[in-house]
Subunit: 639 residues, 2 copies
């Protein structure tokens, strides 16, 4: 029955609280009492939706949930108002209200609140006029006291505790520069050292980066060492891959003697800090056959029936210079503890950012445990997952604790693909747990686009990564010097890859992109709109070769609009159809956009505006929308 | 590292099982062992998606989950194939395989499987040729044996058990007819009885319905009884609302003496069954002040400070003829048990379908418990929730156990709203738990559309409910006789509502819609496409007053296409743009559609076809797509 008999029911008022607490290492199975939670009153919005927020003041893990209950007193106040409006006799109702207050007194601790509640109860039960007693019943103070102390009988609590991980700001906004230390020597006659990296810091800082990431700095194995360009056997003097970790000089807690010492690394950490940079180390959990672990802990490796240790394979390919750890070993617990101690070793030496090699080839529970343990004591650590693998595996690694993730960005080269991919990254639930770190190149990834796209491709990919993603990085100096020759057609490997040999780079070459890089990093720092991923918004363009997108702060005081020509060969032009609200531009006046790369200014009006981009000159506009210049007369040329 | 060092890893083969069991009354907290599950091997599809199915052969509750593990043997076979293709030496690999088989032998019980595994192990370790041993390793039989007995070390299991509720078919496909027994008398000088309802069954069966639903048949209270048209005080002879349950003649387990006896109700249940009908009872958990519970169990009601019992209210309105149960009473447990016993009382008398009045005004946990308890012993019971309330509340009632739910259908009258609403009901996750039962009218709902739309509105709403929803119902004889006068403008109450007075109906009136109703119910029975909700598909029409939709069986052997003119006043015409695949029509030939209401046939071709509907004549086509007539030559007129 809807109306006649049914109308009386189901009109109870509901109250809801958000419950939250800092959870630290606590697991969902720990016993949590009512007193462990902070409570925030939730506000009703519409259609059974409620809202509340809570402040996060510490790094680490918070959890929250919600609780709701039938609020007898709120229902009573609501009904009383309607009865009074209808001039009904409310004498009995006032007594019912007094009983509700009485119940709250019984639950409140002795103190000023209990005193005030007692005063209200007495007034409601007194001989004062109905008018006076009704006024008292409707007092805000009484509502607040009753919300605080009233019974929450049969309160229900949402059965899941929802986690919130609080990271420091660099987890959300960072600019990475990767380089091989052994290629950092200014003297072509000798390989580079950590001291050379320290000497290179002014260059990296001038480029505007804030994270310096080095491939593994540990001793490199000799057994099965690969030669230049990954040929199966090394020649005399070949230096080997830094990812073939471990030799008679030590393992994951040692520095390659050619690079320096652990003390040098500590000096590098300090030197970075002085320049506003932070060192990121590479953690690759695998061993060369010469790694001390192989002899000291044979139980951490898989053994073949012929007594040899199982090397890495992707049949029919064999990687006899690499022994993977056997995560299914009976001795997995001691293996886990040791691997954790590697992180702690470098954390003690000042490192807080780790780029983790191939995390998807180790068990999920291992990473969940390791990152949880490390972050419990060091919540300022940042873990970048290098998992170029299936989407669901990348998502799972992000969910279980990795702070940032590499992406498929390098292979998204046309406007449609870029829009689809970054929409997925920033406008779906992925944005809640997956922080993209966009790289146009890495030592493993020289895309066909960069191989054949020339200087326009490098400029375009740089601008895209630096403006689409709040976290981005480049692998240099190959990037700024536009290294683009692959090992062979169809390969994404560099010819003469630094992975297998020492290189020397002429950083001062006139065709270097260093000025553009430095300018983009300055633009990134100066514009808070670029420090976030969630605020990415794509705009329509009538030319499918063009990509238009913006990022703006919530109050629109800072808005950056980018238009990129994804065609590396031809000038493309078209009309951009702007969503003006999203860039804080007025619908009814002209406004100005300032190209932060070239310094040009344009007076635009309305949604549709014309753009033309010659990739040989500059394949993109990075425009600041100048909201303060709302009419033509505000433009400098009119003043 | 992606390629060089990294390529070897993360290539383990995975195997997955679906685990399922009939769960009965078992709660998720019960201890469930490995042996309680049936296992089904899952098939890998793409991108980390797997598929499996399991048969449900019993009514009631099943649960399922999934388990996955690294399958060492499958990985080994996969690698071995690649090694053999590359002509590598596999002697050591064959020994590794033998060790894997050995491990499975240790896990398999003694028997033929263990014997076969032993034979494979010996062959793999034998001096036979590499070729012979490799062939053995790749045998399907070995793969099957190893899948069955191989270790599932470190298997992970999805942490949630996902429920599947299995209902009987009438839960999914049913046609309801509601009528007031006291208005069933053929003699205008006396009110109807249950015997009169038995005498009315041939009429209801001829209309083609399979569920006969009666409002409450219990004794009606006298205290505070409402008069005709819901006036506050009854006159002598006024019969009161059947939802004001309970008098000196008894309560929820009794039959109103004017209607008959409990035995008469049992006779009605049997008579329905003989006609292919099933009786649905109305369960309304509320009492008149005269209900025996009020005296026998005052603890189940709320008491006011003046000693009176709290009547129902929606301030400032008072419903002093109704006492709601107090579900927050200290005595809630005895109340719950008694209310459950009401269902069991009528189940013992043969009733299996219950229409539950206002379930949203009672606690969710109460219904979850009650329905779970009742269905554990009587899994063939069907519960229809009459909760015309907020969307999330309706969804929650369906999730916690209600079999069917009333909908907002009555108020969705234009084509756009109908399409939006039924898309939500059938093409979103709602379809997994919420079974709509669409009613154009009820004793509480005489919509403005029916009040002012005339005969076309009744025809249109009938066809829409009978073809859009697999479960539907009408409130008769008001519907077939097109009762359309409201109590007052703006009200959805009937003037002279049967809720408050006895009515007599002339079923043989020539303007009755009985023939159209009977035809529609015959169409519903004959066409399996109409027995489901999930298969609803909307097609584009270039006239916004027209709505086009189809339902087809999975193999397209039965496909029904409806085109409805939602304008009750004007003839509307337009081009329907059919998704031919969804109706099994050929893209390249003409096909025929057969109007199942009028008997007309049309030869159509391609996607775009013209339709014109005069609402005064018939506001809709209900077309069967004749897939067997694939060319013009197949048409009867060509033969």
């Amino acid at each position: 029955l809807v109306v006649a008999v049914g109308e009386h029911v189901g009109l109870d008022e509901i109250s809801c609280d958000l419950l939250w607490r800092h959870a630290g290492r606590q697991t969902p199975h720990d016993d949590v009492g009512e007193a462990d939670w902070h409570r925030v009153e939730m506000t009703f919005l519409v259609n059974d939706r409620w809202r509340a927020s809570f402040p996060v003041t510490e790094l680490g893990r918070y959890v929250y949930t919600v609780s709701g209950w039938v609020d007898r007193f709120k229902t009573w106040v609501h009904d009383l108002q309607k009865r009074l409006e209808a001039d009904q006799d409310v004498r009995i109702d006032l007594l019912i209200g007094a009983d509700l207050v009485d119940e709250a007194i019984g639950l409140a601790a002795e103190g000023p609140d209990a005193q005030r509640l007692r005063a209200y109860r007495e007034l409601l039960r007194s001989d004062a006029s109905i008018h006076e007693r009704s006024l008292a019943a409707l007092q805000d103070e009484l509502a607040i006291l009753m919300r605080r102390h009233g019974p929450r009988r049969f309160a229900t609590i949402y059965q899941h505790e929802l986690p919130v991980t609080v990271d420091r700001e660099r987890a959300r906004f960072s600019s990475w520069y990767e380089m091989f230390p052994r290629s950092a020597s200014p003297d072509p006659s000798r390989p580079g050292t950590l001291q050379d990296v320290i000497d290179r810091l002014p260059y990296v800082a001038a480029l505007g980066f804030d994270v310096l990431y080095l491939p593994p700095v540990h001793p490199i194995g000799e057994t099965g060492r690969k030669g230049r360009d990954n040929v199966p056997s090394a020649q005399q003097g070949d230096v080997g891959s830094p990812w073939a970790i471990g030799s008679r000089h030590g393992g994951h807690k040692d520095v390659h003697p050619d690079l320096g010492t652990v003390h040098d690394l500590e000096r590098l950490v300090a030197a970075c800090r002085e320049r506003g940079l932070e060192l990121a180390m590479d953690i690759a959990f695998q061993c060369s056959p010469d790694h001390p672990y192989v002899h000291e802990h044979p139980e951490w490796f898989k053994h073949r029936p012929d007594g040899t240790i199982q090397y890495a394979e992707n049949p029919p390919k064999k990687y006899q210079d690499i022994y993977p750890f056997d995560f299914e070993t009976e001795a997995w617990e001691s293996l886990w503890v040791e691997l954790k101690s590697i992180f702690l070793f470098w954390i003690e030496r000042g490192v807080r950012i780790f780029r983790v090699d191939n995390p998807h080839t180790k068990p999920f529970p291992f990473w969940e445990w390791l990152i949880g343990e490390v972050r419990h004591d060091h919540p300022d650590t940042i873990f970048l997952a290098e998992a170029f693998t299936r989407p669901k595996v990348m998502a799972q690694l992000a969910k279980l604790g990795f702070t940032q993730s590499y992406t498929y960005f390098a292979w998204r080269n046309d406007a449609w693909s870029l829009r689809e991919y970054f929409t997925q990254l920033t406008q779906t639930p992925m944005v809640e747990y997956f922080r993209p770190n966009a790289w146009p190149n890495t030592p493993d990834i020289l895309t066909e686009h960069l191989q054949y796209g020339g200087r326009p491709a490098f400029m375009q990919r740089l601008i895209l990564s630096a403006t689409l993603a709040a976290n981005y990085g480049i692998y240099g100096p190959t990037f700024e010097l536009q290294e683009h020759v692959a090992l062979r057609p169809g390969s994404e490997e560099y010819l003469g890859s630094e992975k297998y040999q020492v290189r020397h780079w002429d950083l001062d070459r006139p065709d270097s992109l260093r000025d553009l890089i430095a300018r983009l990093n300055r633009i990134r720092r100066a514009n808070p709109a670029l420090h976030h991923d969630r605020n990415l918004h794509f705009h329509a363009v009538d030319n499918p070769a063009l990509l238009a997108y913006s990022k703006a702060t919530a109050d629109r005081s800072n808005a950056i609009l980018c238009v990129v020509n994804t065609d590396v060969h031809n000038t493309q032009s078209g009309w951009v159809h702007l969503d003006l609200d999203d860039i804080g531009a007025p619908p009814d006046h002209a406004f100005h956009v300032h190209d932060l790369i070239t310094g040009s200014r344009y007076a635009w009006q309305g949604s549709a505006n014309y753009v033309e981009l010659n990739p040989q000159v500059l394949p993109a506009h990075v425009l600041q929308v100048l909201a303060e210049n709302r009419t033509e007369r505000d433009h400098p040329t009119y003043r």
